[in-house]
Structure formats: C-alpha cells, structure tokens
Symmetry: C2
Subunit: 410 residues, 2 copies
C-alpha cells in the first residue's frame, strides 16, 4: 500500500463526520461499499418502526390523524434542504418510476403543446427512466426519443418538450452540471426532469439554485431510508400553479376527505400523492432523514471525494498491472462512487470480495461499482477494502470456480 | 337488551373461529368496529417486521436475493386462495389507485378498440376509483362516463369498453353478485374490473369461479396487512397473454436485471410491478396473510353475518325510537358492515362512542359505519358495543358539545 494505516487513522481523527458512524448499525466484519444500492440501517430507523408498530396496535385507525396522513409532505419538507429545495416543494410518494410518469403528464398538460413535443430519455441511464417514458408516450400518443449515450444534449433538443436526465449516472458515477444543463434545456424551450437517485444524500444538490423545476429521486440509497423506501418528487414553487398529474388518486385531491364525485387536483405539491402509503415505510425514512439536519454538506462532499481518491490511490498501480480500467470521472464530475471495468474478471473479483465481507456490486458488462458513503465509512474502512481488493487480485483467488457461478440478481 | 349476555357467551363458546382472536393484539378497553378501515395488528406481523429490520441491518443489499425481490408474486400467491384466484394470477403491488390505472391501460390496449370504448365508473363508489379513471381517460383520450348511483348497470353498457365496480360498496356495505354482473358485462362486450377493497378477507370471494378477469384490492382492511399495506391486482390466467400496462417500470420488465434499453413486458402477472417496493411493508403483510390458510371461509361468512345480525337485533327498537335509519342490506347482499344514517346526530354519536372506546367511523352525510371482523371480534365484543351504543343514545350524552367539534380526517 502506498498509503499507511497510520496516515488513514490520522484522517479519521480529523474527520468532522466521524461521529455519524455511531448512528448506524453495520454487521461485524463487513466493509460496505454498496450504499449506492441500499443504505445501511440508522439506529433511529429501527426505533421509529417499532414505535409505528406500537401506534398501529394501540391507536389503530386513529394513527392516520396522528402523523401518518401528513407524512408525504412532512418528510418532503425534511428532505428539502438536503437537495436544495424549499418548504412545500417536495413530496415523498410512490417510487421513481411512478413519479416520472406523474411529472411527464403534469408538464405536458401545463405546456398545452398543440404540437406535442417529444419526450427525450437518456441512453445509458438507469433503465426504468426510459421504460416509463416509453409507457407514458405509448398511452399519451407522444413521441419518444432516446439521446444516444455520450451525445451532446444540445444537439438533440429540437422538437423536445421534456428531457429526463440523471444528475449522476448509475454506472459511471459521472455528475452532470445541473445549472448549466438546466439553462441549456430551458433556452431550447424544453423542460428537464432531474433524477437524483445517485446524488441525493451523496453530494450537495442545489435544485432551486440551479433553476431546476422538476426532479424525482429515491431514498433507499444515500438517504438510508430502508429497502424499498418511498421515492420523492420536487416541483419548483413557481411551477405548481396548475395542471393535473395523470395518476389522480384521492390523496392528491384538493379535499381528499370531502369524497367529491369529481377529481380536483390539490393546489400544491400534494397533488402528486396517489393513494394510501405505508406508515411503516415512512416512519423508517423519517427517522433516517432526521440526521441530515446535522450534516455539513460541504464536509460530506469533501469526505466523499477523499474516500474515493484514497481507494484509487491505494490501487492505481494494481489497476495498471492487471488491466483493470478505472472509468471513475475526475473529482469535479464525480458522484460518490468508483467505477472499474474488467470484462473478463470483474464479476469474479466482486464475488471474491463479497466472500471476504467487502460488499461492492457488479453490472454487466464488466463493471465493478463501489459506493462511498461518508456518514458510515471511515478512511480506515476504505483503506482495508482496498487492501482486500489488492489481495484478491494479486493472489488470483478470484479464479476459484465458486466465484464464477452467476445467479445473483443484484 | 333483547339478547342476554349468557346467550352471546354461548355463541362464543361454539365459535369455530374464536381461537384467531389470540393471534391479534388489541388495546385494552377498546371494542374495534373499524376493521373495514384499518385491520388490527396480528402478532405475527410485528415479529416479521422485526425480522426484516434484522435482515436490512445484517444482509444489507443481499436481502433482495433472500426473499424481498420476489415478494410481490409470492404474496400474490399466498393471497390468491382467499379471493378465489389461482397461482400466478395475483401480484401485490403499489395501491388500488395505481393498479386500476394499470388495468385500464392493459385492457384497452389488449382490446385494440379502434373506436375507443368508454370507461364507466360507478357513482357512489369510493372516490379514488372514479378519480383515477378520470386521470386515465384525460391522458389516454378515452371517454369517461359515470353510472348514476342506483341505476341499472345493464342500461349503461352501450359503447363501454371497461367498467369499474366495487364488489361491496364502502358506504352501504351492499354486495354485488359478482358472477351475474360479470356475465352481463361480458355479454355487452365490455370488461369489468372488480374492486375488492371491502370484500377481500371479509367474505368468500370467488374470482375465477365468477368468471372475473380483472380485479384490484387493498390489504389493510380485512386482510390486516398494516397501515397503508400494499394493494393487489388480479388477472385471470387466460388474459395474461399480451399487452403493455402503461406504468411500465423495470420490475415489470421481462428481464429486469438485463438492463435492456427498451421495455418489454413480463409475460406473466409480474408485468404489473413498477419499481422497488418496501420490504418492511411487505413483511408485515406476508405475516398477516399467513393465517388465512387456517381460516374456513364459510365459517367466516357465517360469523360475519351473525355478528352484524346480533348488533342490529340488539338495537332495532332503539333505531326505531330515535329515528336512526338502518340501511344495512339483507344478509345475502351484505358485506361485513352495518350502515346507519342519522343526519342530525350521526357524527356526535360516533364521537361519543369513540370516547367510550367503541371505534366505528363516520362519513358525511350522516353515515355511521361499523365493520365486523370475525377473526378478532367475539359475539360478546359486539354485544358490549351495542350496549354502549344504546347508552350513548338513550342517555343523550352525544349531545355534549365536545362530541360536535369536527376536525378529524377519518
């Protein structure tokens, strides 16, 4: 190792975020570099779920009057500062797929395009964003186009009404410039929906400051809301003044308990609610979100980049020697992950690491992803993970047949 | 009281379902007649959620390979026998609102109507069923019609492609004849989507035997899955052979982990999945569903009708004397609730009952609803609830000003 253990312990001693690790429970012997898929468990989430179980048992239907019903907007307001949004601009609801559908319908109705501009999806983005755009366009009679991976967005905006972009690409970890891109899309007369799945909680996001009007995201990755925790949806406050969203359920009605015969959308962000949501899932997320008020987002970003840099510094010579391609973008364009490609051995290396308790993940073809979550990873954790990576590759243990059996879904 | 306590205790001693009460936890001093809104907590649900919290903590992302990912179809198969469906015909997913949207899109695409038959909603049905039909039709360019409350369905099927009907009406508790109605709709060349919110777990439902092709429902009422537990969706196995559903997310893809650029719907019931679901919510429901294998549905129906009959028998003279209208349908057309109307005092009576620990609910205008859940209500419970009802009305205590302050949302 080119970096000594003493040095990384020194980094940990000066880490202003070090105290957050104690707010999570991680299993013994595990070095978890997959918080970009599912965040670790905050102690507070566990306690909150137990309290909600008590509430279901004791208050029964009364629980809906005691915090459950308003949770989508309350949690939205709690999440807002983490992503640069303001009170009343965020609602926690359903999942990314469904929230994209709602925004596509809302934006197109609001624009009232007679000529029906196209919906543009991003090639190489997480597939569900394109899938739901296809489903929306098929039903709504709207043209669907795909931006080829790596193509210049500005060259593909003619005739486009809405484009869906990820702020951080799930494979490469590349970070888009939200402000510049938003400006360019608006100048072309189109709207952009930002997918924050790999940026919310991973780095400072400045929705309002970037001029972004629409966004969606999930809460089970860097926000640690639990497996399958609900998604969120953001609409800039100047763009909440009209229009239906097509998934018009009773919780999004202007007066949900009036039981009117006709749908009338709520005048605010709650129009994006659909039906009854899980009080258990929301309580875990609410507790997880509660810690973000204490997080200095600039310190988070600094540590995130320092952790990914440490991992790469420890292994640069190994990558070179073993033909592992490091496609991690430079710091200014990096999310909070390191992405490595080894088409022949990537899968086996990740499996061998997992058997040592070092959890990363693998995506075809050849992509090894390692996520760096500053709230519960120490510099020493990352240093040790890099040490395991080196041993796995140098020893050739990944060549053992058991590491080559493919069957896992994640 | 016209029925003696000895008599109801005798009924409890001979109740074949009496043992199920021990599998639930209900708070001391509460008589809960609102299981038609939110079911009580099964002990098993609590334990299952704790186990899922352990799994999140210990297995982290690995949990998705250990039962979380397949939960929508596994729970669907567990639920199937309770509603007369078969393996592979039910998936647990999202909520009723969203599941209706999926089925409307799927059915219309499958029919390929050039002339675009209308969607018919039922006046007086739970509002979200009409709201989402409106949203669907607005986006899809489909005509939306409403069946006037009380009108003869057969007179309103001309030019209709799909009708959405509740098997049991949420206000009156009236039970439709599913087999006869389905036949009539099919004869008119239309399809029917059944909403089972107030029938699944409340009485024997025979989807396949009734010739029903499509249904949706929720699991937080008579199925006791917890607050906001996920919804379900049924498609008859002979009608799963094609077509998109418009909420085309990655979990409904034929190969969700291939990360293909284009959407291709799964060939089976899993096409109705959208995105990532809450493992916590699903685990509570799975445990709750586990008890249904032991339930004799004929005995459940018999007890349900006996409980509602007991409540009415105890109070018939009181209703007469105080001008309370009992709109509960006759047994053969009854769900599992008693519905009473008192436009002047209904709200205050329900509030006074709640303050005594007798939980029913109130819907404008004037409707008092009392749900009878055979798994955790004894005959003595119902008898005592009726005694409280009598005392509240005869004493006039509901006239106290504190019972007239309206503010609650449920």
């Amino acid at each position: 190792m080119s970096v000594s253990l003493d040095r990384v312990r020194e980094l940990d001693r000066h880490d202003p975020l070090a105290g957050f690790k104690r707010r999570f429970t991680l299993p013994e012997g595990v070095l978890y570099l997959d918080g970009n898929s599912l965040g670790a468990q905050p102690l507070a989430a566990r306690e909150a779920v137990a309290a909600t179980l008590d509430q279901w048992r004791d208050d029964l239907i009364g629980g809906w009057n005691q915090g459950w019903f308003d949770a989508p907007e309350r949690l939205g307001n709690r999440l807002a500062p983490v992503i640069g949004a303001r009170e009343g601009e965020v609602v926690v609801s359903d999942n990314i797929t469904l929230n994209l559908f709602k925004l596509l319908g809302y934006i197109l109705e609001r624009r009232g395009d007679g000529d029906g501009g196209a919906v543009l999806s991003e090639g190489g983005n997480f597939p569900t964003d394109g899938y739901i755009a296809q489903g929306f366009c098929r039903l709504g009679g709207v043209e669907h186009r795909v931006l080829p991976e790596g193509a210049e967005l500005a060259d593909h905006l003619d005739g486009v009404a809405v484009v869906v972009l990820s702020q951080v690409n799930y494979r490469t970890g590349r970070l888009r410039d939200m402000a510049a891109t938003t400006r360019r899309v608006h100048e072309a007369g189109a709207e952009v929906i930002w997918d924050l799945a790999h940026s919310a909680g991973a780095l400072p996001v400045d929705l309002a400051g970037s001029g972004a009007r629409y966004a969606v995201g999930c809460t089970y990755k860097y926000l640690n809301g639990g497996p399958g925790a609900p998604g969120f949806l953001y609409v800039h406050r100047d763009h909440q003044d009209g229009g239906w969203q097509p998934l018009s359920g009773w919780h999004g009605h202007a007066a949900p308990f009036a039981f009117d015969a006709d749908y009338a959308p709520a005048g605010d962000i709650t129009r994006f609610r659909t039906g009854t949501h899980s009080a258990l899932a929301y309580s875990a997320l609410e507790a997880s979100l509660s810690m973000w008020g204490d997080v200095d987002m600039a310190a988070l970003r600094e540590k995130s980049l320092a952790l990914s840099a440490l991992f790469r510094d420890c292994l640069a010579d190994l990558f070179e020697a073993h033909g592992i391609e490091d496609i991690t973008p430079p710091a200014a364009e990096r999310g909070s992950q390191v992405s490595l490609v080894d088409a022949d051995n990537g899968y086996a290396i990740v499996q061998a690491l997992i058997s040592r308790g070092v959890i990363g993940d693998y995506r075809e073809p050849g992509l090894m992803r390692f996520g760096f979550t500053p709230l519960y990873l120490s510099f020493e954790d990352v240093w040790r993970a890099a040490m395991h990576f080196r041993e796995v590759v140098e020893s050739g243990e990944y060549r053992e047949p058991r590491f080559h059996v493919r069957g896992a879904v994640t």
